[in-house]
Each structure stands twice: as C-alpha cells, then as structure tokens.
Symmetry: D2
Subunit: 365 residues, 4 copies
C-alpha cells in the first residue's frame, strides 16, 4: 500500500517570495450567510494561511467554494450560507502568498517532469483508455483502507437494478469495504423492492421480465415502509433478508438518503431539506479517504464539491483522498472535472460489471 | 391549430363489460401519509371511476403514482404522502372496469390501425430521426398556446451557458411564450452571472474564454444576491439588464427554483425542502398544456411524473398535454419513457441550437 | 442447453390462405448486378417459397436486403450485386403467401401471449436494464456452442487496448470459444503493438502511461509486419508470444481483416476491396450460431446485415442464431435494430469489463 | 476575415540550437511499401528539414503518420504504402533540429501567454460549452473561403435523413459553399431515396412516418441507379430534382464515395478499394482550407488523418486549415483528438440543427 499513497511535500516556505509574504487578512461578515466582498474561496487543494512570523497553517480539511473562517489560530472551512454575522473571513484572491494565502496543488506529485512529445495519440481519457491498472490499484486501495481508512460510497439507483451487482454491493458492505453510503430515495426504495419482490420498478432483477402490475411493487414497498415507520422496522416486518440497505442496517453502516424532487414516497429516513442533506453528507466528506461514486451525476458532483483532495491524519501526516467515478459517459467524468474535481479518476463502464469485477476480486481476500 | 389538437373520445361505457361494472370501492387511510394496501395507483392517463348507476367520473387532472381520494362525488388525485388518516382512498388494481376503475389510454388516438410490415428499418427514435416536422408542429403549438394555453419550461443550466440560447429564452419569455419556468439554483445563478459578468462559471458565454479568477464570478454573484436579500433586489442593485431571470421578473412570469444537494449559495428564492418544491411545481403541472423540458434529467423526470397526459378545459372538453424533451442522448429520452412518461416526444440535439432555431422561427410571428 | 435453444415451429401451411397460395414467380435479371423491378428483398427471418403442389421450401440461409435466386428447386440468397444476367429472381413483395412467399417471424416464439398492462415502467432496454441473466445465458450458450456450434467474434479495436481484456480474448481463443474472428486493420495492429511494445497507439496497455515517442510504436509495428511480408512471419521474427492475433495464428482460427479508409499501413492480410471483404465475412455468417459483436459499430452493423436469424442444421432442424452486441451506448444498439437486426441482444457496458467477466466465468469450465 | 486567419511565424532558425543543426539524413527504402527502420513519421504540423547551409525547407503539405521522401531538393509527404524501393526517406525521430528535422507546433499562436489559475471550472469542452462564437466565426470563415479557399465537406448519412437539413446542404452547395464532398454509399443512397421517394430507409424525411414496405425504397433506388449505370443518368431518368447529390451534379462539385463493408448496392460510383479511396480523398485534403466533418466517425477520422493543419498558398504564405467536427458525443470529438487531430474544433449538437442554423445564416449573404 505504501507505494499507492504518495508522500506529501509541504510547500517550501523558505523561498524569498514566501518569507516576505504578509500576514493573512480577514474581514467581518456583514450578515448571516453573507461574506465580505473580497472573500477567499477555497478549492479542494491543501491551502495555507500565513499567521505571522513565518507560521503557515494548513486548513485541517477543505471544501470547494467555501470560505476560511479564522478564530484566533483556528482555521475552519465553512460554506458561506453557514457563516454568521461578525465571523472573521479570510480575504484575498491570490494563491502564491501575495496576501498570505498559499494554494498547494502539487503536494503529492513526484519531483521531476518528463519532456513532452509535440505529437501524441490518446492524450484524453475515454472509454478506450485501459483500466486494468486502475482496477488493480483500486483493489489494493480498498483492501488497505478497509482497515486504515474511511471508504464512502455514493450510489445511483442502477446498482440495485441488477441481481449480481446488488449482491456484490451487499458483499462489500458485509466485508467491511463500506464505511458510509450516500444515496437518494430511489436507490433505497429499489433495493428494498428487490429484497421483497425480486424486482426493480417492476422488472425482475434477474430475468428482466416485466411483472404484471409490477409498477405497484415500487409503490407498495414505499407504502409498507411508511406504514412500518422506519426502514429498520420494515426490514423486520417484511422479513427482508438481503440487499444493500439490509446490509447497512445489519452492519450498522451509516447511510444518508438525500431527498430530491423526483422522489416518490419518500421513505421515512429521507432528508427533505437539501442543505441539511449537504451538512450530513459533509460529515462523511471530512472523514473520507476513498470515495466510490457510481452511476449518479447528481450525487457524485454534489459530494465531489464537498470532498477535499487530501486528509490530515491524526498524527499530522497528509495523504490524498482517492476519488473514483464510475459512469457510462465521458460527459459525466468531464462534468465532474469541469466543476473542479480534477483529481477524480474515471472508470467508464456499466456499474453492474464494475461491481461484479470488484467483488470477484475482493471477496476472497 | 385545430389539426394539431386531436379530438378526445370518452370510453364507450355502454358496452356490456362496463354497464355491468361495480361501483368503485374505497377504504379509509390508516394513518397520515399511509394508504390502504390495495390502493389504486394513478397513471398519467385519463382515469374514470364508477360512482353508480352508470355514472363514470373522470379525474379532473392526474399525476403518476398517486392515489384517488373520493370525497362524496369529488375525485381528487393526491400523493400518498399528502393523504390524511381517514380519507377515503379508491382501491382496486384492475383497469377495465372490473372494480369500477377505467384507465383510458387511447382517447386521443384516431380510429383504425394500419397493418404492420414484418420487417422495417428505423422503428426506434434516435438522433437520426428526422425532426423537421417536430419543429414545425412545435412552432404551431407554441403560437397557439401562447394565447390559449399554459406553456411551462423546465430548464437545465446549459440554456444559460451560451449567449445566443440565453438571449433566445429571454426573447421567448418577453413575447409571451412562457407561462412558468421551473429550474434549479444553478440555472438562475449562471444566468445572473451571465447578466452581471458575461460569464457562466467563469467562462465567457460568447468567446468561451476562461476568465482569470473566473470561478469567483459564480461565488460573487451568489454572495451579492444573498446580500441584496432577493433576486429582484439584486437585479435592481446590480443593474442587470438581460437574461432569463431578468425577463421573468420583468414580465412577472412565475418561476420555481427547486433546491438540490449540488447547490452553492443558494439564492434566497431557492426552496430547500424538496417536497415543498414538488407541491409548488405541481401547481403548474395542473395548468400545463405544453411542457418544454430542456437539458435536465432531474427536473424533466420529476416534472414528467407530475404532468397528466390530458387537461380538462373550463368547458369540460379534454385536450392532450404536449410534452417535449430536448436532450443529447437517447438514454435520457428512454429514461423518461421508462418512468412512465411514454407520451413525451424527444428531440435529440443540443439545447443551444434548439433555442436558437426556435427563436429564429417564432420571433417574427 | 436444450432449454436455451427454443424449438422451431414451421408455419402451418395447411391453413386455407396458404393452401390456396399461388406458385412463386420469378423473372430474369436484365443485366449483371441488376435485378427485376419487382424483386423480393430478403430479411434475416426464415423465408419460404411455394414451388407448387403445397411444397414450400425454406431458404437454406439468409441475408438482409438480398434476393432469392431460383435454379430448378434450388433456392439461393444472393446479394443483388452478385446476380448475373438471366438468373431467375423471385418477385413479389407480400409476405403471407399471396404471391407464394412466406416470411416467418415467429418460428422460435412460444405459443400463448400474456396480457399487457396499460401502464408499465422500463419497457425500453437501457444501461440500467439488469444483465445478470444475459450473462448467465451467454455462458451456457458459449459452453455449448464451443463444441456444437460456430462462434464468430466481431471485434473493435478497444478490446486490444487493455491488458486484461486482451488476455481474456486470447484465453477464449485458446480454449475453443472462437471459431472465426472478424475485425479491421486497427484491431490487429493494436494487438500486435501490444504484443511487441506493450502499448496500444503508444499508451501502455496496463499503466495508461503515454510512452515517449509512443506513436511510433504504431507505425513501427506496421512497418515491421510489412517488411516481414505476413503476420505469421512477423510473429515469428518479432517473437510475439501473446495476444489475440497470436492466438488465432497458433490455434489456426481463421480471421478476416476488412480494410477501411482509416487504415494506416495496412497489414499485408488486410483486404482492400470492401465487397471482397463482405464475401469473405459472409462465408462465416453462413456458419454462425453465435455472434459476439463488440465495440464496433461499423463491423457490427455490416455483419448484422449478413447474418440470418436462424440456421438449418445438417439434420434439417432449425435453430436460432444468437447475436450479442456489446457497446457503451443505447444509440449503437438502437442503430443495429433500426437496420433490421431486431433480434440482436444488447449488453451495454465497456468491452473491457465484459471480456474480463466472461473469461473469469469460462476459464475454469 | 483577416482577423480570423492568424499570421504564421516561421521558426527562428537563427538560434544557436538550430544554426548548429546537422543536415537531415535519408535512407533508401528497402522494398516497395516498406520504409527504413528509423524513418521520421510526419504529424499534421508544419515540418522543416535542414538541407544544409542553414537552408530549411517546409514540407509543402503534410499528412499524419506518413514519411518524408527527399528527391534532390524536393520534399514530399508520402504514405509508407506508396513508397517505392530505393526512394530516399528522411530518418530521425527528434523534433527540435537535433537531426535536421524541426516540427513547428506554435506557428499560428500569438506571442505571450497568460498566467493560469490553479483552480478553474470548465477546462474541458463539452456539450455545455457555449458555441455562439464558434458559429459566428464559422459563418465568416465560410463566407471568405467560398471565394478564397477550398471547403471540403465530410458527411455522415444523418444529414440526408431530415428534410430541412438535406435542403440546407443543397442550398450550401448551390451557393458555392462546398468545393468537394466526401461520403460513403449510404449518404448518397439515402439522399437519392429522399429525392425520389421522400423517404430515408423507408421513413418519411418530413413526417417521420414509416412507409408500408418502405425498406424497399432503399433497395429500389439502388437497383434503379445500377440499372441506369451511373448516378447522373439515374438523376436524369428518375427526374430527381433536389437533394445533396443532385446539387453536386448540377454544380459540378466533385464528390468521392468511399466504399465500406456496410454497403448495400453499391451505387456505381462507389470506390471499392479503400486505399484508392484514400488516395482520392487525399487529393482534396491537399487543397482544403476548411473541413466540415459531420456525423461520421469513420470518415471524419479518416480524413482527419490526411489533412495538414496548414496550407502553403501560391504566394508562399502559410495559413491554417480549419477543421470543424460536428457530432453528438464528446467521445467522437475526443477520439479525433486522440488520433492526432488536436486542432479540430468540436461543435457538439445534432447535425440537423447545425445545418439549419448554418443555412439560415448564410443563405442571405
């Protein structure tokens, strides 16, 4: 594993430019949820502020498009909507120390750089990019971080539509490969429908057959869970014995179901307020060492916005956060990059196969 | 226009099967937000219930995956989550009168049916399907319903990213072609950024150039609107003079901004609770005669779930609701169909061109 | 396996319509490569012609968009470009016996038909369709037809770009799962580059790294094979020891490399004349019992046009030909259907994962 | 227009590195169609070789993945398959003069370079990229090069499937905006079917209706043209009066129909040998100043391989060749870039709309 986790280099703060950098400035927020005009917006890279006397402090974690609130020596990354009137917000939009702020984009990169050809094929990642090593690295990362990290899964509903991929996800949860699961009402509802009726939206998850009156399965499972009052009570009463949500409940893996305007039902645990959903998701973003974002553009980009590219461990060491996105289209991967999550690694395929491959490899280890 | 709106045929309730149909049954809901086990789930087709003595009543409007609540002779289509304990809910899952319920899927179809070849090319709609007539019909529909209908636009953010398509949408609003606009925080924010900075997420909406520090434009516009307290106050203070939201404000066209977990900011008008968003959107679904759903899978499917395939006019006549979905992929159109909105007509293209084409044709009429 | 191969029902020629059907008519072709104006065009379904006295003859194989040439009692399906002046061509465009021609589309369907709901989710196949059973059936089909059928692979270049999928294809060939391979210059060139340089178009097939001057690998392998004079000589001289083409050569599995206007080189074995390529491919189409078409729209549709939906075995029994298409987009699968190959079964995924899954399952059997 | 055509800067050959560069080396080709092992492979950039005494010669045109043949002072870019035994081929794989070869990638770039932000949204082009200026520039380019350049269109069949886009292409040809048209058998066949039957593969090009027995239209038009012996004779005899091919014939615009393994028919003018097709297409590549590649991956990449990024005018001045690719997916645009045509500018949309937009703008100028 040590090969997989590249060492982190802090910036060299002894250069003339940085030794002469001013102390960072702050301004008071003028109102709740409003920040000073010249606020510094955070990226997902490690960012440092100069507190004076050559003392640069690294933000303990980060989030895209938020602000730095300074309270004494305490530096916190806060969404603008959560800033309270009067809090001191770091101001300045330079990134190389000119205003006491340093954004460090190359901390995990090895020294040295190869010359580049003037002409090359295949400079862009697509579905034709070879993914063998991506898988091999992923297997190692997951095996390591099962015990030494925090693996967060962000799942679109398609994972629950197929018998084998649903079983693979269940296996991963039961074997410790999932420390938190983020999804929407649909994933959980389809999964519970699969557990009770063997269908997803009325289509058999194995045979593809559309069941007669099958669309009622979707509505009935919602009604039954609402009648039971909670997912855990419903699993008990309906004697559901397999699936993704079942495994989370049994293994006590926390899951967050963020509501959306597409929801039927919803299930009782679904969070109706999207900003409360964000806050709940971000609690996991702060802990994540690996993110597996599968077949959901909405949740992937939402969580991508929240996840720093690094994590400061308890012993003060800094490691990267791995972010994998699995999707069928270049567009989704590009969109994640275009919203700032440039470090996300795309594997372009159907999540059904992805899950089966993953589980085939990890189940015996 | 009369050619475009096909006449509606009520079912023939004088057939032996239907004259002998029983009166519809109801059961009381056992708890708030929970419905009886054998509830009848609604489709987006016209549905009738038999109240006795051969009196069949058409639901005044509909919504996919909801239930029928009967209060005396009053028939209402209600989401299960909104049903209150004790309300009488129609039960039964047959569709041809066996339990006093009739689902009418062919009301707008002409009589007679052609023989089908055993072999044919091009039975599935794709990007290669010719759309010339779709456009011509659409122009006619929009011209007619500008004055005699209720045109609802459901917009993804891409519409605001391009100067010409943004101007086209502004033109359509200013010329009466939009009676309500449904979108998310992103569309409105990008549009206001376009109005103030000429960029969308920092990229010039005309030249494609990425502005230095351009990603701040996105954050700054959010901060400024939050500081102003409302979109309308911000438009005033920032002297924004064009764009989609500007046009809505000026023309007093209602718009609904439904929150999502991807939101930055958000703008003050964004609705945080997704079920309140649904309720607000559905108020427009009840009035819609044309739906234009552009470049947003989330909002298109959400609204598709809410929109009936028909509308009962004030004079009791029944007309179809036209539902156009414009997207780049067969997958999005198929997904809408797979979620029950089979009547949606897909035009597979980039919304930028779609908007420009539309406006070129409608602007002089 | 017997479960997998549905029994075939000949049409019932004893119905009044068919007993009174006229003898089929023919006309002489007016010139080489030109057919009579009222020619009958073939589909990929079983087609019968009435030779008189109630004797209906099934075409021994078929091909889309060709004609039926009758020579005495001998019925042959011939591309119009290959018809010679004076040959007798079946005329008539009806399909139910009216002119002595019967197109049989339901020979493999079970009797009886279920009632259809008026409303259903998920009527269209997409990437979200569950493929578990498709895989399970495919495993069985391939195991059976390895010994009792003729499995034809149609490969796009992406199969050779990834180390694991390339090795999986090699394994399948070496274990008897491939009776013929159809591809273009690119697949073979990339595969040989992989064998000699471990790259595909200069990108390492495992690590994804772009090699310095890597685009020369592509050109060099072409030059070396051309210098050697043949692929087999080059494999010998360059000591290539793995890969798809290597396995074909070693196992004496025939392969057809059809030229295209995109070709560099080309390799010496590539066929320059596209109609000679068609003829060579069709020789395999006549024998195929399973077609695996992966990640190539051009070759998939080309071969789809040539493959009948049925095969008449030596003992006169009729079985279906299974046609699997593996691609990333609904568009490709739809396009194949839109060009007449409606029986093709789509598995929407990345071929890399598809190959790895397949081989994981088949390698130990 | 002068704004649109950036000035070209030759390299500065007076730098110490280049003044000390050796004379370029050549080796004799060992056999027909085989080149020396250390051959220099060309890109689509301007490339210079040092002939001695500080005299650097620019290749008069170029082609990706070919070689430089030197005959006295004459430098020619030749595909390896066309090199004859004994011809002198430039050898060396360095690009900065080390072996007397200089590849010039920045000749059209303005001096100076902006600093880059560490963090930015939207660095990758997608369907959400604004295309307004791309269109505006394209209009100007086409207006200018109608009279002063050579505009080559590379068309996929979808252009002929829709009435309006087919008419737009006809209009462009008739108004001088097309100096050569490259396509396959399908485009021409569908277009002629449209002219004779008003269908494309049996589907009405306006109403989308599938005609009864419509698939015969495709076969019948092929048979009729083959009967007539040539496209021009068929247009005469069948009294075809509109369409793309009709316009080419009437305006005497040359067109190349390259055969492929998917072809039915084919039409008499289709070239069966793919390398002869390449040679014929390349004759147009040498003259092209603008390439419009629409909705065809095969032909776009094939032609992209042949087109230099620059053209030397009669007066010795050097100008860029504009290459536009119009397609629905990021994958196609990325693939073109991954095959070396990095300068191609993508417009991601449906070609139907693209054509209509283009023609609406150009028709009155």
């Amino acid at each position: 594993m040590s090969d997989l986790i590249p060492p982190y280099h802090h910036p060299d703060f002894s250069t003339p430019e940085l030794t002469s950098a001013p102390v960072v400035s702050t301004e008071a927020s003028p109102a709740d949820g409003v920040v000073p005009r010249n606020f510094h917006g955070t990226s997902n890279y490690p960012e440092y502020v100069h507190l004076g006397g050559g003392r640069w402090v690294l933000a303990p974690e980060s989030r895209m498009d938020s602000v730095l609130v300074l309270d004494g020596d305490q530096l916190e990354v806060v969404e603008a909507r959560r800033v309270r009137k009067g809090q001191r917000v770091v101001v300045g939009r330079t990134e190389n120390g000119e205003e006491g702020i340093y954004v460090h984009t190359t901390g995990f990169e090895p020294e040295g750089q190869e010359a580049t050809d003037k002409f090359a094929f295949r400079t862009r990642g697509t579905r034709e990019t070879p993914f063998s090593r991506s898988y091999d690295e992923l297997y190692q990362v997951l095996r390591h971080d099962r015990d030494h990290g925090h693996i967060v899964w962000v799942l679109g509903p398609a994972v629950a539509f197929d018998k084998d991929s649903r079983a693979a996800m269940q296996g991963l949860i039961e074997n410790g490969y999932c420390h938190a699961l983020l999804a929407g009402n649909a994933l959980a509802t389809h999964d519970l429908e699969g557990g009770y009726f063997r269908t997803g939206l009325g289509q058999n998850i194995y045979s593809q057959e559309l069941q007669p009156l099958g669309h009622y399965n979707h509505l009935d499972i919602l009604n039954e869970v609402r009648r039971a009052g909670s997912i855990s009570a419903a699993i008990e009463q309906l004697q559901i014995r397999d699936g993704i949500i079942y495994a989370c409940e049994k293994q006590q893996v926390p899951y967050v179901l963020a509501g959306s305007i597409r929801d039927d039902g919803p299930l009782p645990e679904v969070i109706a307020d999207v900003y409360r959903s964000q806050d709940t998701m971000r609690a996991h973003a702060r802990k994540a060492t690996v993110v597996m974002a599968l077949a959901t553009q909405l949740h992937s980009i939402a969580f991508g916005n929240m996840v720093p590219s690094y994590r400061v461990e308890a012993d003060g060491s800094v490691r990267p956060v791995f972010f994998y996105i699995v999707d069928m289209t270049e567009f989704s991967a590009d969109k994640l990059a275009n919203r700032g999550s440039a470090q996300a690694q795309a594997i372009l395929t159907n999540v059904q196969d992805f899950m089966v491959n993953l589980w085939n490899n990890l189940k015996d280890s």
